[in-house]
Amino acid sequence: MPDGHHDPPGDPRILGAPAAFSPAVDAEVGQVARHLHTSEPATPTGSTSKRGGLGVVFWIAAGWVGLTVLLALLAPFLPLQSPTFQDYSVVNLGPSTHHLLGTDDLGRDMLSRIIWGSRDSLVISIVSVVVGMLIGGSAAMVAGYWGRKVDAVLNAASFVVLAFPPLLFILAVEAFWKPPLKSIELWKLVVMFTVVAAPQLFRVMRASTLAVSNREFVVAARSMGASTWRILTREILPNVLPAALSFALIGIALAVIIEGALAFLGLSVALPTPTLGNLINEAAQIYNLKANPTAALWPSLYIFFLVVGLNLMGDRLRSTFDVREGNL
């Protein structure tokens, strides 16, 4: 089946997409592949491997997210008041030199609470998404590569987990698991989030794996006698990882927001530990909103920019590596 024309710079088709694949391959890989290699309006050169191809926006977002993570990591070493120290003489104050972002209804320093709060929020979101990706991702690669029965079983399993009402699951875990140590509360949430995230990531990565598994370089590796493990790790993984990574970033953003929702229900990390969700939840109460609107503003803004940053990064990665949410 002749085809082929790797359209060079200047050919109008390239204005759209790097038409690097033959229709024959397209037809085989089907719709998923279509999604995999259609893209944002590419430059006429259509290359994806350029250095700095992620653009300024990405790096600004990454810088912001990085700063957030760094602050969270360094919280114990920063010259911050304890996030739980209550000073009843300075309740509900606006920003001042002593309290850069003001204080809350118990006279605690908002800046300190936000930075410390982001610690647990980030641990929950990042760890659960990373672990979810390890579990869901490996299952996805196995399912996508082996196909057939393995795929059918894993796929159905992911459906079961997805369809199971997450609220029931979370409340059940909440009721079931009473960690003897308060420090484990955090990990309880991580486990819940992981269970919820894993099947989602499974579906994303399965779609990418399916698309990649049919590519000829995988067939080539097989014909060279590569073991399955080697094919999965050397050939498929590097190709599904960027896509998965972009979803992971968006997943982390989502997890930060969901942590907030759980805090709204009193299901997030136990008191008195601040999390971003706990902070918003505390501050968005009507009595606090009236007494101290800025206390709600700061954590909301913080979440907002963190989530925007993560979304931007994920989105940039996605458009650079040509993946669609639609492959879920």
Partner: protein, 387 residues
């Protein structure tokens, strides 16, 4: 000049036309890219008489596809830089607004695309894809449009055409899809058909059928046609005239027989010789063209083919050769043309000095040292590269 009346463009009947149906003058199409201006079509001129067929031949990246789309005015957008004029039936269509151009398309000029798999909307039934032009452009009602569509599909050799209208493109074979596309192009009775690699995606057996079909339809409708292809074999027997493009420029243009009989441009010759022939014995070494087409952002100075040319001399690298006449209708752009004494001397000189391109041209074994041609790193990727 056809006057515009109440926003409607009017074109003279082709039969009454005195001049050529298409005149392209110094057409340029550049694209703005991150790396700079991509000179995809760079000063191309030609004319086409009604009912005649022009073949446009070149490698991928030579700008031939852009040329056909530029002629039609299909390339729009803020990153397209256009220049030159295109006159259709005496009317300067390159100056028309997009809305006006819509009146030209399909009814006056139509296009057959390279890959029917991608050029037919995969989620729209054949029926609508054929009839929508008829209904919207020609104002036929549903019934009339359907009847016309059936007739059209029948005329392009599709069996049980009425049933096919309900099909989606993927339900047809490649050949059938290409026939559908031709039917769509012909639907509104264009006077000029641009066929952009109409058979590239097809099997050889089907390719012949499609080319025959195009020929028949052209005869019947006395259309003019531009046949764009990378395969000289395709145009050899089906065109009146051939233009060879290289790096955005026409480097040789001649009536078909003349071109094959008296090839002037080394590039044309190299193209011809690199094709394996059935008539050649097995295991015959092919004469490959070394290197790759130039980067259209920074084309080489002088003749753009110089880096790959077996005849190349210092002059070629300095000065760009103009299009010169070599007999009736035959133009070429070369300082050391094939068949001339300068050319022969140049080649002999190069062979003597073991210029790799010349060695490759002879097909000698040594040229695997093509390796020889230092692999210029391709900064961005696409574009045929040698090594």
């Amino acid at each position: 000049m056809s006057p515009k009346a109440d926003g409607q463009l009017r074109f003279p009947d082709v039969a009454d036309l005195n001049g050529p149906i298409l005149e392209v003058e110094n057409l340029t199409t550049h694209f703005q890219s991150d790396r700079g201006l991509v000179r995809a079509v760079d000063g191309v001129s030609f004319t086409l008489d009604r009912g005649r067929t022009l073949g446009v031949v070149g490698e991928s990246g030579s700008g031939k596809t852009v040329l056909s789309r530029s002629v039609m005015g299909l390339l729009q957008g803020n990153r397209v830089v256009k220049g030159g004029t295109v006159r259709y039936a005496g009317h300067e269509i390159s100056a028309l607004s997009p809305a006006e151009l819509r009146q030209v398309w399909a009814v006056q000029i139509a296009m057959v695309f390279q890959d029917p798999m991608t050029a037919l909307n995969p989620v729209v039934r054949i029926g609508r894809q054929v009839t929508e032009g008829l209904r919207i452009r020609l104002g036929l009602d549903r019934k009339a449009a359907t009847e016309t569509a059936v007739a059209l599909l029948e005329s392009v050799g599709i069996p049980s055409p009425a049933a096919r209208l309900r099909n989606y493109p993927h339900e047809l074979s490649g050949g059938m899809r290409q026939r559908v596309m031709i039917a769509i192009a012909l639907a509104c009775g264009p006077k000029l058909l641009l066929a952009d690699e109409p058979t590239t995606g097809l099997d050889v057996t089907v390719q012949a059928q499609i080319l025959d079909l195009l020929g028949e339809q052209q005869q019947e409708r006395s259309m003019a046609m531009i046949l764009v292809t990378h395969d000289l074999g395709v145009v050899a027997n089906r065109t009146d005239e051939i233009a060879v493009m290289y790096a955005g420029k026409i480097v040789e243009k001649a009536p078909t027989t003349e071109l094959f009989a008296h090839t002037r441009m080394p590039y044309t010759e190299a193209l011809l010789r690199s094709i394996p022939r059935l008539t050649d014995p097995s295991h015959m070494r092919l004469r490959a063209i070394p290197g790759r087409p130039p980067d259209l952002v920074n084309p080489p100075a002088g003749c753009r083919f110089a880096p790959r040319c077996p005849y190349v001399q210092e002059q070629c690298r300095q000065a760009e050769p103009p299009l010169r006449n070599a007999g009736p209708g035959h133009q070429f752009a070369c300082w050391f043309p094939v068949g001339s004494s300068e050319g022969e001397q140049a080649l002999a000189y190069n062979l003597h000095h073991k210029v790799p391109a010349a060695l490759a041209f002879t097909g000698t074994r040594a040229d695997n040292a093509l390796a020889a041609v230092p692999p210029e790193p391709t900064p961005t990727g696409d574009g045929e590269v040698a090594s």
